[in-house]
Symmetry: C2
Subunit: 67 residues, 2 copies
Amino acid sequence: MKNRLKVLRAERDWTQAQLAEALEVSRQTINAIEKGKFDPSLPLAFKAARLFKLPIEDIFDDEVETK
Amino acid sequence: MKNRLKVLRAERDWTQAQLAEALEVSRQTINAIEKGKFDPSLPLAFKAARLFKLPIEDIFDDEVETK
DNA sequence: TGTCTAAGTCAAGTGTGCTTTACAAAAAGA
DNA sequence: TCTTTTTGTAAAGCACACTTGACTTAGACA
């Protein structure tokens, strides 16, 4: 699952730690999600959507990565 | 987490088993999600959104249940 | 060069999403 | 009523979302 967290962070000049705090998860969790290590839970995706005021589909991308 | 799966099923006259098959999960998983026993994973939420051609937010509701 | 911050990663542990198997309860049809 | 279908639920097990703690790497800057 791809996601735009890194870009959305950059647009706001936030660190992984700051985003983690805003979403009430650990910094390692943010890092792992950004690096594609695992997918966030649905509740966490909702939290991110509310934080960035974007639909979940605009933050996370379920399509297969064709790297 | 509330959800409209039961209604969306009813609109299409589908059983839990049929929805489970369409989403490639077990019937018990559909039942548990409909009954609020646990939240679906984000990938499963994406699958449901594609199946029903609706945004994830139109199927699942992260707001606190005020029963 | 040395220091500070941000990012990346690993290990071990906890909780939960989802499975299969099985059975009971409820609904629907004859 | 009898039978079939659908829904609800439980137990045991596996995989993964997420945690804390610790360590490394890289960049910025004095």
